[in-house]
Symmetry: C2
Subunit: 488 residues, 2 copies
């Protein structure tokens, strides 16, 4: 289970080895070898799955995923697989690759491999990710990524693809008149595709800039050759719908408004519902970057004035990174038809033709999509509204935890998102030592961006993460700060 | 094992259920329920991993991955996981989602789930993919995609990222003076990024068009606002380096040459080494779409005149889809610095700044990268030269198989790739019935594109696929054609 549900689990992730027992088939070499660094190695004579289970019973280890199998033959590798071992390592020459172990090593290299992947202090281990995505995902989500190989021109892929788009509509609570475009790439790809499709030749885009991501949207429009107007605010100031209304009224050549819902830079929410209402009223198409808000923040799309909402698989929907999508309103679809494409890979019209033909224009990110499908199943099993409430409740826990330590986020309370907190570094506390100490406890925090890099740190609560874990994190955060801070 | 190594394995994939034994914890409902459609269900009293192993021993099933666990409680779900069961299904309400089974179903919906994912005729099952990617991948490659959740700003991600780039250089046999840009997306994304970076303002690109993918490169350049010249040939005619040399000599405003190495449309190879030599000699930067050739076809890059070589994770390197990359020569790097970016997501200069800072500009497709890393390990364990030889040997087997049936690919022998064959549909044989009959045997073939859609079918041999499987495929192909063809 890679879901963070308790402080004990986090401690185990931080401290325990991933492999509790190595089972070596017919090999003397490992009993006292480099694997034996506090980890028992059981030698068994026959290379069968049942021999692994017997070794487990003898050693009192009951989780086959925490058992590693060391094999010098293809039969041993296959027996390790059949037993469901957490790791199967071939010891010998490259010909063992054909039997598909997790790794093949020479005997004298096993120590290095063990240190990197399986030992207590290994860098590749489950951690509580408190960065703004990729977030922790469930085993089922990860398992889906490792599913069967699929050809994207076969009906089973179409089943997956259409299922995902239907599930996204259900989460978004929109009807079939909204289109869902899926693409392989990060959220920035979905943003660029949307911005390129939203402005007719000879017209301008009004871009809201109050953080790194609004600034990136502006660069996207500029590099795409779209004339722009800028509405700029400070990084902790939400956009003002009234000010936008007067900008829109006074600049009649505006064709689209482009705005970030949740500025991950700081954890600031822009009031996109109100902004879209005034922009839509004035006849503008509205592009909302919902990459770090969709699935966490309340936002009614139907009839809102929002025409393009972008999102990614790996943040608040709790899938794996690699896929992004755009929800397009009926008016947005009409606009796409009026704008000559200026890209092939980031051309929404091409993706929409694919949707109509039950096809896709380019090879999709199948593992990321299979994971997204599993993640959407989890959101819908809970209920989309309850998923949002879970995010709201967890944000409240995070705010309580920070308040108890006396830490005040830089964004005013009324504009804070449910997932990101930017917190001034206390006097005497530098980011890197704070980060490194918390990481040793199993928690990954996040640095500030741009001018904030030396001023703040960020704590985020996206993903498969229980509130109790945030409470335990608070204890470690207080300790780490107390150790480093200069008394006031 | 999802590697296709034998006819028996393929037959098993096509015919056998994925789950041979369901173990139900403390539940009467399943003994005669819909799961019992020829599949044994063992009821056990206590929800422990060892109870699963005992049920397996009693039933004579020794592969825990072919065991499914049905559980009505979180403890049962977790015990199924610990046992390493191939599937863990929660039976009951949505609260079971928290325990992270592979699926949660109501009792009366298990039959549907079983049919879709676990029964003999399920659509989601391993098949021999004879389409031009995504190809079959090994278990280790898929396993890597389901690894731990990672934050891309942590050193362990940098370790992965830098490791992949170093391994790609080793496979390509180029030095550290070549850069490797990784991006999240399909190969078309890498192509568009390369084309955009290759032509200075006011100059033109010469695009070689002799198939769907050359045509797409032309569209990419046109939509990016790059003035173009076109060198066109028929779809089964390789580009002629002499003709290109005279074009280049007579049109002095050309700044780049853009060419597909392997036209997946037909299986045609363009002589890109010779083309790059003449274009490079004339001072042009050369963009080669190596998406379906890299890892399969011989191509020396160092000193070749090639400046941008694009590729993807999911074809001849045998990773999963979702990541793409560009190999950039020293002269290509210089060119990137001279071209103002016209995209944000597809801007090579931004990715290169990331590489220099040991960082990435956008959230990377981590699962696809982890898989690519594992796939590169497999290529390098065998040796890059032997990997190429494996592709050459397998192509020869495919050609023998086709020749025995009397099928002649449309591309002349001297221009054929090692991975794709376009074969005229025999008289009386339509694509869909042929496809469907072969799919029932476990083989997925591929349709023609554009005007060839009704004329040909394609058989490809990328991926984790042994030559013997192609021989068995040949037997099924002959039978399917004999059944449908009109005698001459």
């Amino acid at each position: 289970m890679t879901r963070a549900t308790s402080a004990e689990q986090v401690a185990a992730w931080a401290a325990l080895p991933a492999i509790d027992l190595w089972v070596a088939f017919a090999s003397d070499a490992w009993i006292d070898g480099p694997a034996a660094d506090g980890v028992p190695v059981a030698q068994v004579a026959d290379a069968t799955a049942f021999a692994v289970f017997e070794a487990m019973r003898a050693a009192g280890v009951d989780d086959v995923r925490r058992v590693g199998v060391l094999a010098e033959s293809s039969a041993g590798i296959e027996a390790g697989r059949r037993a469901g071992a957490g790791a199967v390592v071939g010891v010998g020459g490259p010909e063992l690759v054909n039997a598909e172990p997790d790794a093949v090593v020479a005997k004298d290299k096993f120590g290095d491999l063990y240190a990197l992947r399986f030992a207590a202090a290994r860098p590749f281990r489950p951690q509580v990710l408190l960065n703004p995505g990729p977030a922790l995902t469930s085993d089922a989500v990860k398992h889906a990524a490792a599913g069967v190989d699929l050809c994207h021109r076969e009906p089973e892929f179409t089943l997956l693809d259409e299922g995902i788009r239907a599930k996204i509509r259900r989460v978004a609570e929109v009807g079939d008149d909204w289109a869902v475009v899926l693409l392989a790439g990060s959220g920035t790809g979905a943003n660029e595709a949307s911005v390129r499709a939203s402005v007719r030749p000879g017209r301008r885009a009004l871009v809201v800039v109050n953080g790194v991501y609004g600034d990136r949207l502006l660069t996207i429009a500029q590099r795409a050759g779209i004339p722009t107007a800028v509405y700029e605010r400070g990084w902790t100031e939400a956009a003002d719908p009234d000010e936008i209304a007067s900008r829109v009224a006074s600049e009649p050549d505006l064709d689209a408004l482009v705005v970030v819902h949740h500025e991950t830079t700081t954890g600031l929410l822009n009031p996109v519902a109100e902004i879209a209402a005034v922009a839509g009223e004035a006849g503008l198409r509205v592009v909302v970057d919902g990459i770090s808000s969709f699935g966490a923040e309340e936002l009614e799309l139907s009839g809102s004035g929002i025409d393009f909402l972008t999102c990614t698989s790996n943040k608040c929907l709790q899938g794996l990174p690699g896929a992004a999508f755009v929800l397009v309103s009926p008016a947005g679809l009409e606009r796409i038809g009026e704008v000559p494409p200026t890209s092939v890979y980031l051309d929404l019209s091409g993706y929409l033709r694919g949707v109509e033909a039950s096809s896709v224009p380019f090879t999709p990110a199948i593992p990321a999509l299979a994971s997204l499908d599993a993640a959407l199943d989890e959101v819908l099993a809970l209920g989309a509204a309850d998923h949002l409430r879970r995010y709201a409740a967890r944000a409240q826990v995070l705010d309580e935890v920070l308040e108890e330590i006396g830490l005040e986020p830089i964004v005013p309370g009324e504009h804070r998102s449910r997932t990101v907190r930017s917190i001034p570094l206390p006097t005497g506390v530098d980011y890197l030592p704070l980060h490194d100490e918390l990481k040793r406890q199993g928690y990954v925090i996040y640095a500030g961006q741009g001018p904030l890099a030396k001023e703040i740190f960020r704590v985020c609560c996206m993903g498969a993460l229980e509130p109790d874990v945030l409470r335990s994190f608070g204890i470690h955060l207080r300790r780490a700060i107390d150790r480093q801070a200069v008394p006031a």
